[in-house]
């Protein structure tokens, strides 16, 4: 058995930043990750990181834009804290070695992003996540900590109402391992793979979020699922909002710049929920293009010129060429929305504390909430760094006053029992098939536009899949890199989270941000200006609600 003071699960930007904060506080820190840290999904973030550092810009405007973007579901105290930290965080990352793009005067270059009053998105070409991930890994590499690489977290051990440690599956050696730790920081990122069409990596399966939920931690606002307006048609690969920030425009099959109808002031740079719904509406009403991979619209960059596109959107040029066979310098890119981001997650305080003592969370796995019902582009990278640090520091401080943690011999047995059952079956459900059915269900019944009948049917189907998962079977019996175990583990985790998404969406009889109910098309502040809280019970998630924190911004109708 391994022992540490703080164990961070997930090695993307939030996890690494949390680990660094705990190391800075003098703690014995370990990182558990199912991928090498440099392969984390943070590296796929393209467009940039928001910080109101321009002379014409202000932290105040960043706060307001974020509050408005959240459709007034974001906690305003958290948003204020978040935006105030933005400048220092970006400077810190620059000092760690991030190679940001620059303006002619040597300052950090900024580009326009959706829902923002000023160009405040600082970037590194169109691979900002990768640039930050490299720099943070380089920085933390000079510190002393333990890395458990290619380990899947299976479950958390909670006793006496607090964290005692966790059990993880070491892929390389095929062993289940106990790690005793009084404090755990969950930073396992998103679970976009509950949907079939997603910009998320295959690894984005919410293992940590599910493990926290199964251990009794509260999840918050899971029904708010962001669909990014511009993903490549067939593959769902992301085309950054930066493409529109640099001047890219959207056109329907009639050649109309249709965003003028939906967001007359800012057109393509409206908030993501607005642009995604506009594209879906255009296609549904027959003004989209159609092809073997469904309806779509065009994202045009041709008018920007080769030099600008090749220098600022280098990865986009490659993606379009390799994954869509399109040269964006001379041809429009066929795009359609795809699942992109989970606004919800493990509910936390500003300091990253969850409802479970000793468990902290940060990044996309967490929900503070700063994004409310809809996240603004450029705020997620910032979130990982601001709240990763908070969570890591809070975990370290918690260790100082927490009683010693203990693991029992039965903890490992209890964790391993289901895997033994999966591997001993000669007949049973295929985890890949269950996953594919779950993805199709979420896509069809819990997508961009929702209604009661669809959600009811979606829930029925997800619950049926959960039942079938009880008989899941692992075919691979090897002790080395048994990915079939990971398949089953991930599918089980995602089914839990899918259920919470649907139950929350079914209950919320209003439209707010990314949650668009055709049967309840208006925002209903009188009844629904509140966070959804989901707690696990044997029969499924139990919902309760928590107030939204207000400071200075009165809810208004959201117009772009």
């Amino acid at each position: 058995m391994q022992k540490h003071e703080v164990v961070v699960i997930g090695a993307g930007l939030a996890g690494q930043r949390a680990a660094l904060a705990a190391i800075d506080a003098g703690k014995d820190v370990a990182i558990v990750s199912k991928l090498h840290p440099l392969r984390s999904h943070s590296g796929a973030a393209q467009g940039g990181i928001n910080a109101a550092v321009g002379k014409e810009d202000s932290v105040e405007t960043h706060i307001y834009d974020t509050v408005k973007g959240s459709d007034y579901l974001g906690d305003q105290d958290a948003i204020e804290f978040f935006c105030q930290r933005a400048g220092p965080v970006v400077v810190e990352m620059e000092h760690f070695g991030t190679i940001f793009s620059r303006s002619d005067d040597g300052s950090l270059a900024r580009r326009a992003f959706g829902g923002a009053g000023f160009p405040r998105t600082i970037y590194a070409a169109d691979r900002t996540g990768l640039a930050l991930l490299q720099a943070l890994w380089e920085r933390i590499g000079t510190e002393d900590f333990t890395l458990y690489e290619e380990w899947d977290v299976t479950n958390l051990v909670v006793r006496e109402g607090r964290m005692q440690g966790l059990v993880a599956f070491d892929r390389r050696h095929g062993n289940f391992e106990e790690i005793q730790a009084p404090a755990v920081v969950m930073a396992t990122g998103p679970f976009g793979r509950v949907y079939g069409r997603t910009t998320n990596a295959h690894s984005c399966t919410g293992d940590g979020t599910a493990a926290a939920y199964e251990a009794g931690a509260q999840l918050k606002d899971l029904e708010f699922v962001q669909f990014h307006p511009t993903a490549l048609l067939e593959s769902g690969i992301l085309i950054t909002e930066g493409a529109r920030g640099e001047g890219g425009i959207l056109k329907n099959a009639n050649g109309e710049r249709f965003m003028a109808k939906y967001a007359p002031h800012v057109l393509e740079l409206a908030s993501r929920d607005v642009v995604s719904r506009a594209i879906v509406t255009e296609v549904a009403e027959g003004r989209g293009f159609s092809g073997p991979y469904g309806g779509y619209v065009h994202l045009e960059l041709m008018h920007l010129g080769r030099e600008k596109v090749e220098s600022r959107l280098q990865e986009i040029v490659d993606y379009s060429r390799h994954f869509a066979g399109i040269d964006p310098i001379t041809q429009p890119i066929p795009v359609y929305p795809a699942q992109h981001y989970m606004m919800g997650g493990i509910g936390t305080t500003i300091q990253g504390a969850t409802s479970l003592p000793g468990l902290f969370a940060a990044g996309e796995a967490a929900c503070v909430s700063i994004h409310g019902a809809n996240r603004l582009g450029g705020n997620s990278l910032l979130e990982t760094l601001v709240f990763g640090r908070e969570a890591g520091a809070a975990a370290a401080a918690y260790v100082d006053k927490a009683p010693a943690s203990t693991m029992h011999a039965t903890d490992l047995d209890a964790a391993v029992a289901p895997f033994r059952a999966w591997s001993s079956r000669t007949d049973g459900e295929d985890p890949s098939a269950l996953r594919t059915e779950m993805q199709a269900t979420m896509e069809r019944y819990v997508g961009i536009y929702r209604n009661e009948a669809d959600l009811f049917e979606g829930l029925r189907r997800i619950r049926a899949l959960k039942d079938r998962f009880q008989k899941v079977r692992v075919v691979d019996r090897s002790s080395i890199y048994n990915l079939n175990v990971s398949d089953a583990l991930e599918t089980g985790h995602m089914l839990e989270l899918a259920e919470v998404i649907v139950v929350g969406a079914y209950a919320r009889t209003e439209s707010r941000g990314a949650h668009a109910r055709t049967d309840f098309p208006k925002r209903d502040d009188a009844h629904w200006m509140k966070h959804t809280i989901a707690t696990r019970s044997p029969t499924g998630p139990e919902l309760s609600y928590a107030p939204v924190a207000y400071t200075r911004w009165e809810p208004k109708e959201r117009v772009y």
Partner: protein
């Protein structure tokens, strides 16, 4: 519903050391659209035919660096290699693990040595405490300074270059193309204070082991062009140390040799690189070559048209044009 499909045949390397005595190739057949990425095909095989097929993958968009493998003997990212051209060129698609790394199972290789070599170049900013970063603001850096990084920030550490490199297997001290490209990234960083030390330290430790075969550049999916960054490092190293290292002496000797006669004098080159003692140490090797190629011991003549060679050197010596 989609485009017309083709019948694709995959011969996939399979090896599970916990039960297999030796590797084997397993054939899978699938009907797929020609633009289907190899990774999608392999994942379809996992889902529909054999869930025990083991490989690393994550982002499927060429940014996480997980799925590098050999596709028809080339080190490639499976996610951005389309099956159509592979079938057209080779009639089948042979999938094998990357080279230069021990196979753990099927297509999964042990990357610890790769990361250890990466760590050997001290991949982090080294700061001079007497010149702290500006407090509360970003370092000033012009777009031209950012240009100096060239394409190195695009590196996704996929190890395709490491797999393609013949020098990696020849010498464990050789950091490998990725690590050297990374070193270049720190050497040109105006924030780094150890530029000179880095260039001095890397010379006996591997910089000159690069064979200039450019296989790394051919393999790199992100256009980092590691062999060109290694060349850039060599130039900077010679500037810093004035060519006192064996490797740099070899490069300088080569250049002088050709300028003088238009031909290489191997004897002279060895003497210039390793000195008289070095020449003696390599005498055995020299004799063996001499038996096969007696002309190497002869003093080379000057070629005709040496003035043309001189013109090339003059062009090379000219300072580069603005912006080039």
């Amino acid at each position: 519903m989609a485009d017309a499909t083709i019948s694709a045949v995959f011969d996939v390397y399979r090896f599970d050391p916990s039960k297999d005595r030796e590797p084997r190739y397993q054939r899978f057949a699938l009907d797929l659209a020609p633009h289907t990425p190899v990774l999608s095909a392999l994942l379809q095989i996992r889902a529909e035919q054999d869930p025990t097929l083991t490989l690393r993958y994550s982002c499927r968009s060429a940014i996480c660096g997980s799925c590098a493998m050999q596709v028809n003997s080339k080190s490639r990212l499976a996610c951005e290699t389309q099956i159509g051209p592979e079938m057209e060129r080779h009639g089948r698609i042979v999938i094998e693990p990357m080279r230069n790394q021990a196979v753990l199972r099927d297509l999964v290789v042990d990357q610890q040595p790769f990361w250890q070599r990466y760590d050997s170049i001290e991949p982090h900013l080294i700061l001079d405490p007497s010149h702290p970063m500006p407090e509360d603001r970003a370092t000033s850096m012009t777009p031209a300074q950012v240009e100096r990084f060239k394409e190195t920030p695009r590196c996704i550490a996929c190890a395709a270059c490491y797999s393609a490199c013949p020098a990696v297997s020849a010498d464990p001290a050789f950091p490998g193309p990725m690590a050297l490209a990374k070193l270049y990234r720190f050497v040109v960083d105006p924030r780094d204070s150890a530029t000179q030390e880095r260039l001095v330290r890397i010379q006996p430790n591997g910089l000159w082991l690069c064979l200039r075969c450019h296989l790394c550049t051919e393999a790199c999916p992100k256009d980092v062009r590691p062999s060109e960054r290694i060349r850039d490092l060599k130039e900077l190293a010679i500037q810093v140390q004035g060519g006192t290292e064996a490797g740099s002496k070899h490069a300088i000797g080569f250049k002088e040799n050709i300028r003088e006669r238009g031909l290489l004098s191997e004897m002279k080159l060895v003497r210039q690189t390793s000195g008289v003692v070095g020449l003696a140490a390599q005498a055995g090797q020299g004799l063996r070559i001499w038996r096969k190629k007696p002309e190497i011991a002869r003093r080379p003549h000057r070629i005709e048209g040496l003035d043309e060679v001189e013109k090339i050197y003059e062009a090379l010596d000219r300072p580069p044009q603005e912006g080039s």
